[in-house]
Amino acid sequence: MAKMNLLQAINGALDIAMAEDDKVICFGEDVGVFGGVFRATSHLQEKYGKARCFNTPLVEQGIIGFANGLAAQGSVPVAEIQFADYIFPAFDQIVNETAKFRYRSGDLFNVGGLTIRTPYGGGIAGGLYHSQSPEAYFTHTPGLKVVVPRNPYQAKGLLLAAIRDPDPVLFLEPKRLYRAATGEVPEEDYQLPIGQAEITREGGDITLVGWGAQMEVIHKAAELAEEQGIDCEVIDLRTLSPWDSDAVVESVLKTGRLVISHEAPLTGGFAGEIAATVAERCFLYLESPIRRVTGLDTPFPLVLEKEYLPDHLKIFEAIRESVDF
């Protein structure tokens, strides 16, 4: 075990994956000598050579197109998109190609080896284009897996699992936590399961669901609620696609109440899917309306970021309203 921040945990996972398997190849804008603008790929070029860790030209559609081909060939590409806000030029390669490769070929070919890493989320004074949480664009895309870790320990175990998973994985990294989140992380190889939610706090009054950086905020809200005598159960979804609906449903069957929170805008956000599913499957057990605490239906602002973000106070209010319903 060692104390690490989230970036170090990711760097460690990449290091282990590359050491273990020659087929693992890391690339993206500035990931080579420089080790990425956030330094997630630090020292990998030094260790594994320029052929296996390198800068690409500045073209996201090319990065993912290249990665799709490389994965189809049998390599295990780990492509970095510098910010999730810049993943959209690659949207066609991801949604029409990565996601449908195996299905359309009847499993003759697949790009299961592919992992796409990208930092997402707000709270870093990044404005419209360094703050987006685009997960819902991808959770509506069958064929992709979408994974979001909440802390260093999760990040390492989930990233190793993602790289080795037989399906293409979009791995969203909460960049606000890159250096802010630290924790004990095993130095050796380990994996955490993809497709399984985790109960990070048990409770009986209400269920709170989230993922990634939002988990910290949710836990803070749960603590505020505890002071008011409200006992929250908290679930980290970890994998958004395919998501562990059974875990959430089971919890809500017990608590009868649900609050979901994400930074992305409300309308069409992934909380809607969760709410719709749970409302259907727990129809007779819900004691109050499911509340979604999310970003506004606007682009991400800069100066009024604090006002925009679904922080612990907003979640706490939703919890209160739910319990008082």
Binding site: R52, G62, G65, N68, G69, R102, Y103, G143, P166
Partner: protein, 400 residues
């Protein structure tokens, strides 16, 4: 290294011109000064047979489409020399990533008529499990990547695939076919730039056939074709007469040497013409003159190569009629068999989305099965897959 100039002069690309490499004249005679490539008799015959078989398959299947037996078809007609000539110059294990009009490549590599038909009818034997429209072939054993409809996506994928081949060090390369229309996509630029930066053994083979559906090349780009773009990437480039199988073969053979021995990408632009409609859904009379088509029909690539072969005494008229005859029969027989085969099973709706079927997909399929059991007549294929008896009336649905 920088050369300074103190007069403000603009360049445009008209300073140089890229010639078209050709070997055979329209009569199938080697041009003066041209030397025939090292193409042996059997190799040449195989090349020719694949061109001919492609032509015949296309004719027959378009007819089948017109009869309503097939929902959709796309012909390679007019471009057989470009496709088959290029394929014949490759190692059999080189990966081919095509656009959709390149069935000739599969034909050359030995995809059987059966295999073609199974895909065209999307029956239970289709490798693609009846999920894609006709002509979206793929073959793992023949190193032919399954076709994908979104244009140009395969071009950067070819760069990536070839990068993997380079690391594997197996001396193989990737060839990707695409149209001059698809070359307008952003993916084209991405692919060529990355290939030249990362020094990748990939051959970018552009079929410039004059049209992208109704859009003529002059509305697709202002330059002299696609070839000059290579200059922007310091990439080897050659333009070739796409109706001259011999020239295409030789250009590709040499390109492959550059790709594999130097790990460098090469761009080939084959000048040809889409003799048929864009697809069975298209009618070119709305956007181009019959006379233009006629001019090109005179340059028929299959005929030109046949003439050369015949001159070489490697091919005879008798062989021609025999082959035509046997191919036509095979195509017809196979077609009848393939169209009668059952559809893929109901489970194929949810398999291959992920490597393992997810619980949610199983739930969805179970729900669908329950529903089909309730209304078997409404879903004849699904009902058949579930072994449900359905009233005979409903089954006519399947016999289009």
């Amino acid at each position: 290294m920088t050369r300074f100039d103190h007069q403000p002069s603009f360049m445009t690309g008209d300073e140089f011109s890229i010639p078209t490499f050709s070997l055979l004249d329209p009569e199938g005679v080697l041009y003066e000064g041209a030397s025939a490539p090292a193409l042996e008799r059997d190799h040449a015959r195989r090349l020719y047979k694949a061109m001919l078989a492609t032509r015949l398959l296309d004719e027959r299947m378009l007819a089948a489409q017109r009869q309503g037996r097939l929902s959709f078809y796309m012909q390679c007609t007019g471009e057989e020399a470009a496709i088959v000539g290029a394929t014949a110059a490759l190692d059999e294990r080189d990966m081919i990533m095509a656009q959709y009009r390149e069935q000739g490549a599969l034909m050359y590599r030995g995809f059987t008529i059966d295999e073609f038909m199974n895909q065209l009818f999307g029956n239970e034997l289709d490798y693609g499990k009846g999920r894609q429209m006709p002509v979206h072939y793929g073959s793992r054993k023949l190193h032919y990547m399954t076709i994908s409809s979104p244009l140009a996506t395969q071009i950067p994928q070819a760069t990536g695939y070839a990068y993997g081949q380079k690391l594997a060090g197996d001396g193989l390369c990737t060839l990707t076919f695409f149209g001059e229309g698809a070359a307008s996509e952003g993916d084209f630029h991405a692919a060529l730039n990355m290939a030249s930066v990362h020094q990748v053994p990939v051959i970018f083979f552009c079929r410039n056939n004059g049209y992208a559906i109704s859009t003529p090349a002059v509305e697709q780009f202002a330059a002299d074709g696609i070839a000059p773009r290579a200059m922007g990437y310091r990439m080897h480039v050659i333009r070739v007469d796409g109706n001259d199988a011999l020239a295409v073969f030789e250009a590709t053979r040499r390109a492959r040497v550059i790709a594999v021995e130097q790990n460098k990408p090469v761009l080939i632009e084959a000048m040809s013409y889409r003799l048929a409609a864009h697809s069975s859904s298209d009618d070119p009379s709305g956007y181009r003159a019959k006379s233009e088509e006629e001019t090109w029909r005179l340059k028929d690539p299959v005929l030109r190569f046949r003439k050369w072969l015949t001159r070489q005494e490697w091919w005879s008229d008798d062989e021609q009629s025999e082959l035509e005859e046997s191919l036509r029969r095979e195509v017809l027989d196979t077609l009848k068999r393939a169209e009668k085969r059952a559809a893929p099973p109901l489970d194929s709706l949810i398999t291959d989305v992920y490597a393992e079927v997810t619980p949610e997909l199983t739930r969805q399929l179970d729900g669908l099965k329950r529903h089909i059991r309730r209304y078997p007549e409404a879903y004849p294929k699904g009902a058949k897959s579930l072994d449900l008896d359905i009233a005979p009336a409903a089954s006519t649905d399947e016999e289009v």
